[in-house]
């Protein structure tokens, strides 16, 4: 299908972009890489009156280190982030998870921020942001605010972004997972939506932080302390599997998803702990 009619707006500056957004509000959608939004427009799942194209805004094109945070601008593609020379040393977890985002062809245009703003429960980047406890930077005419990952994504395709705000950057803490980072995903084929995805990174005092995507409405994270016994870990994972609930759909049953959580999480904890030693 083809998109329903809309007004296309391509601002030359970020100020123009937020002004246009302030004017159109809920009637507008922000277009960056378009790898989710364009598909939704074609399928007429969304019919905005205006599209604000930020993909050419030079101000949003940078990946930079800001103290101990990595700040990725809203026009940076997933392929560009994957090719960032410091990715492995500063964000080893993302270096592992990013190749699982879509396909080569969609990573070439899809943006890091766009995936997080879209907030699909099975997407790897929202899981990465939640697991690494990153932040989302939102800009509107009235100013800039930062939200923690846990505050930003509120549910399936739902975020705390106001109608007059756009995501201008996301910030990942640098150096997390240097003592161990693991990512695993089960999907029908590489590049498809994850049935279950699990990430794990080494945390302070020998703990392992684990995040699970694809099961609940949004990524969920738990911490496994260094002193936790194997039976306690098994109990915690069992509780997590039931807390996440899961849903039946064409790809998998809720029961299968819970079972994947029970099987994948201990493996990843083991891998991270082995690295940390």
């Amino acid at each position: 299908m083809k998109p329903a009619p809309f007004t296309y707006i391509r601002p030359d500056t970020l100020d123009e972009a937020v002004t246009a957004l302030a004017q159109h509000g809920a009637d507008a959608r922000v277009l960056a890489g378009g790898q989710s939004l364009m598909a939704m427009l074609n399928l007429r799942l969304v019919e905005p009156k205006a599209l604000i194209d930020i993909s050419r805004l030079g101000e949003l094109r940078s990946i930079r280190l800001d103290g101990d945070m990595i700040e990725v601008g809203a026009a940076v593609t997933q392929a560009e982030f994957l090719a960032w020379p410091q990715l492995k040393e500063k964000a080893p977890f993302i270096a592992r998870a990013l190749p699982w985002v879509g396909h080569f062809q969609t990573r070439n245009r899809g943006t890091v921020c766009g995936s997080i703003a879209h907030a699909d429960p099975s997407s790897e980047l929202p899981l990465s942001l939640a697991l690494l406890e990153g932040e989302v930077v939102l800009r509107s005419k009235s100013g800039t605010r930062r939200l923690k990952a846990s505050e930003f994504q509120t549910g399936m395709l739902q975020t705390a972004r106001r109608d007059d705000e756009m995501v201008i950057a996301v910030r990942f803490p640098a150096g997390v997972g240097l003592k161990g980072a693991a990512f695993r995903e089960v999907a029908r084929r590489h590049g498809d939506f994850a049935i279950v995805s699990v990430g794990a990174v080494s945390a302070e005092k020998g703990a392992v932080r684990v995040g699970v995507g694809g099961v609940a409405e949004k990524p969920a994270c738990i911490s496994i302390g260094a002193s936790m016994s194997t039976p306690d870990i098994t109990d915690r994972i069992e509780r997590l599997a039931w807390e996440l609930g899961g849903h039946d759909d064409i790809h998998a049953s809720a029961r299968y998803r819970r079972d994947l959580v029970r099987r994948m999480v201990p493996t990843l904890i083991g891998e991270v702990r082995a690295c940390a030693k």
Binding site: Y8, R10, T106, R109
Partner: protein
């Protein structure tokens, strides 16, 4: 700021396979439809129209991307390469195309243009890929004829062929 209102028709210019071309587009016209209907370049095929099947893949400023997930107005002023630009002439297929013919990497040909465009980008950036890497990129395309076996053979051989000499695959670039 550029604004194209609902129903308005604007002139779009882009560099297609090395030549500057232009045509009319509305705000909601997809790049696939602009290429095919407006510019008459029907080598780029339209399949699923939501980014899954891969047959509309073209190169935007050298980078492989779905042309169904891009608006014609977004391509204004950009460089677009399509399958029409790959062969230097009718009798001079490039290395990738020759390998496709040799290994029967196509049957009906519907998916072929997109796959050629993906790998003309991928192999220019990764001249020496292993089979898993090629399979991952091929995962972004759906081919219902070949079972992918001929495709794998063709792409691996084309990569080796292109490493052995100056790449001839870059089309208009």
């Amino acid at each position: 700021m550029r604004e194209v209102t609902t129903g308005e028709t604007v002139r779009i210019s882009l560099e297609l396979n090395g030549k500057t071309v232009s045509g009319n587009a509305t705000s909601r016209m997809l790049l696939t439809d602009f290429l095919r209907s407006e510019l008459g370049q029907t080598g780029t095929h339209v399949g699923c129209e939501h980014g899954v099947c891969g047959c509309c893949t073209v190169r935007i400023d050298g980078v492989a991307a779905r042309s169904c997930l891009m608006l014609a107005v977004q391509a204004d002023g950009r460089r677009v390469d399509t399958v029409e630009g790959l062969a230097a002439s009718k009798d001079a297929l490039n290395a990738l195309q020759r390998a496709f013919r040799k290994h029967h990497a196509l049957q009906c040909g519907f998916c072929t243009a997109g796959i050629l465009m993906s790998f003309s980008d991928f192999l220019s950036r990764n001249p020496n890929p292993d089979e898993d890497e090629v399979r991952e990129v091929l995962g972004g395309h759906i081919c219902r004829c070949t079972g992918y076996d001929g495709l794998m053979k063709a792409i691996m051989e084309a990569a080796a062929d292109m490493r052995g000499k100056t790449p001839s695959h870059a089309g208009a670039t």
